[in-house]
């Protein structure tokens, strides 16, 4: 591979990898606190993309209840992105209130909760299909208005061209990553979150309202999931109601690769998989999902706890 092509693919990989990373953080935050994978996360990702799509004022397709519907206004893309993500966050909150909290209060087995979250995912996917149909949606090219379609980082003789969309999604997700890391490590709520993740009983005895923190975690998880959904939708297309399900599987690969419940691990895992996919020769691109899981498999053989995971200490 030529050096410029390599650099190009590295930038693309870093960019999509950081989207994987913020999406995977949504899983990781909930896992680190409740010890459960929230399978509804992929569906919330999809919803985020549709919310933003609608908020930009774009028109829906020919099927579903919302056929040919359109909001009477259109928000600028960046604003639509965050409002859409906020709505996705609220869906996350709803999932916690309607599903996770009642099951937790009744002391349900984690496996039951996990299967129920899978049920919610299916229900959400079907609801989406009911409302907007199963068509492929593309963000109108006008959302990045005023920006050139690509940027050349090289010279005219040795071009290093990167699609603007890749840069936009890379920058946005890097910003989210930084803010989230800051929040978790440097604010008092983040500290409380880490305390609850380690031992929620003790945290409650120290005056921390654990239910409220869990609710906040679901909001953040839905929010970053929604952002990731929109960014992937922008980069390729929204491929229909099942958009997030395949992506959700890859998100699982990312968190397991990085180490379950480990926040820096989720970031590293996302970026590793993003870059690996982009370094594939073009003939193998169709198999990139298989390759992501192959990497996962090989890493787990060598480090069963994931890249940055710690070996489990038995709780007494």
């Amino acid at each position: 591979m030529e050096l410029t092509t390599l650099l190009q693919q590295l930038i693309n990989g870093l960019s999509i990898g950081s989207v994987y990373a913020i999406f995977a953080l949504g899983y990781t935050l909930i896992f680190s606190i409740l010890g459960i994978i929230n399978f509804a996360h992929g569906a919330v990702f999809t919803l985020g993309a549709y919310f933003t799509y609608a908020l930009t004022g774009a028109r829906f397709g020919f099927n579903g209840i919302f056929a040919e519907a359109q909001l009477p206004f259109g928000l600028p893309f960046l604003l639509a992105l965050f409002v859409g993500a906020g709505l996705a966050g609220l869906v996350g909150v709803l999932v916690e209130r309607a599903l996770f909290r009642p099951l937790r209060a009744r002391g349900a087995d984690p496996l039951l909760t996990l299967v129920s979250s899978l049920g919610i995912a299916v229900a959400l996917v079907n609801t989406i299909q009911y409302f907007v149909g199963a068509e492929v949606y593309s963000f109108p090219s006008s959302v990045l208005q005023g920006l050139p379609p690509s940027v050349n980082f090289g010279t005219p003789e040795a071009p290093l061209v990167v699609r603007t969309v890749q840069l936009v999604i890379g920058v946005i997700s890097l910003v989210i990553l930084v803010v989230l890391t800051w929040f978790i490590n440097r604010t008092k709520t983040g500290r409380a979150l880490r305390a609850v993740a380690e031992d929620s009983t003790t945290s409650s005895l120290l005056g921390i309202n654990t239910d409220r923190l869990i609710l906040l975690t679901f909001f953040i998880s839905g929010f970053v999931g929604g952002i990731a959904g929109t960014l992937v939708g922008l980069s390729v297309t929204i491929t229909g109601p099942y958009f997030g399900i395949a992506f959700g599987l890859k998100g699982l690969a990312v968190i397991v690769l990085g180490g379950l419940g480990n926040i820096p691990g989720a970031v590293l895992g996302g970026i590793v998989i993003g870059i690996a996919e982009n370094l594939l020769p073009s003939s193998a691109v169709a198999y990139k999902d298989a390759i992501a899981f192959a990497i996962l498999f090989v890493v787990l053989l060598i480090r069963p706890q994931g890249l940055l995971g710690r070996t489990q200490v038995q709780k007494v």
Partner: protein, 256 residues
């Protein structure tokens, strides 16, 4: 006449067929060190779990400073000023000593999530204040020089003291200590009494203490309650309890 801080009235806790605590009543006066002793399985820790809201009582009443706290959640009870430590230490192992202490200052701060994320001045100055207070507490338990070491890397005795510092950061009026001397060597145990008295005076605390070490309890406590199989079998000052027939039987068995 001293003031009643915590009133336990006919408190009962059943786990299925097992009665862990059976109609136990006593009152803890403000400013005293109240000992809770009894053989293993007598219901001492369950009683702590009931008082802190971790386990719901089957029946009975819990009153703290005149308020019924029987239906409150653990975090609400903590906010009212009851802090505790654990028999098997429960620190946040992956947080530093300072962060462990700062977690329990959470209830005494007001800045919200948004202010924290954006680093608004109010949140920043509050964070600074909390950090300083945490350092003062760590100094008091002689851990300030290792404030940034993760809690799980501390030796046992230091973890005990860190746990007490963390409980104190809640600014409690009532401190429940669950076997603070467990696992300590004789030297550490000897200094523990002085440490507990010191902490009590400095923070104007009332202390309820579970402890197996008889000399420690007898020397430290103003009054002692003895539990056996979930029932209160004696209550009084150390000398009276020590000579109580039921207590001697519970500890030594009733064979001649």
């Amino acid at each position: 006449m001293s003031e009643t801080l915590l009133d336990v009235h006919k408190l009962t806790c059943r786990f299925g067929g097992l009665i862990a605590v059976n109609e136990v009543s006593f009152a803890v006066q403000r400013d005293e060190i109240f000992g809770l002793i009894g053989p293993n399985g007598a219901g001492k820790t369950t009683l702590f779990n009931l008082i802190t809201g971790l386990t719901p009582a089957t029946s009975g009443r819990l009153t703290y400073r005149g308020d019924d706290i029987g239906r409150l959640k653990p975090h609400q009870i903590a906010a009212k000023g009851i802090a505790r430590t654990f028999q098997n230490i429960r620190l946040f192992g992956n947080l530093s000593a300072q962060q462990n202490v700062m977690v329990s200052q959470h209830v005494h701060t007001r800045s919200g999530v948004v202010a924290g994320v954006f680093g608004l001045p109010g949140a920043r100055s509050e964070e600074r204040m909390v950090r300083e207070e945490a350092m003062q507490l760590l100094e008091m338990v002689n851990l300030a020089d290792r404030a940034h070491v993760k809690a799980r890397n501390f030796p046992y005795g230091d973890q005990r003291r860190l746990e007490i510092a963390r409980a104190l950061a809640l600014k409690p009026q009532l401190l429940l200590l669950d076997e603070p001397g467990a696992g300590m060597n004789p030297n550490e145990k000897a200094s523990l009494s002085a440490f507990i008295r010191d902490v009590k005076d400095k923070f104007k605390l009332t202390i309820v203490l579970i402890e197996h070490n008889v000399p420690l309890v007898m020397g430290l406590c103003d009054r002692i309650a003895v539990l056996n199989f979930g029932e209160l079998i004696a209550l009084g000052n150390p000398a009276a309890v020590q000579n109580d027939r039921a207590v001697i039987e519970a500890y030594l068995g009733d064979e001649p």
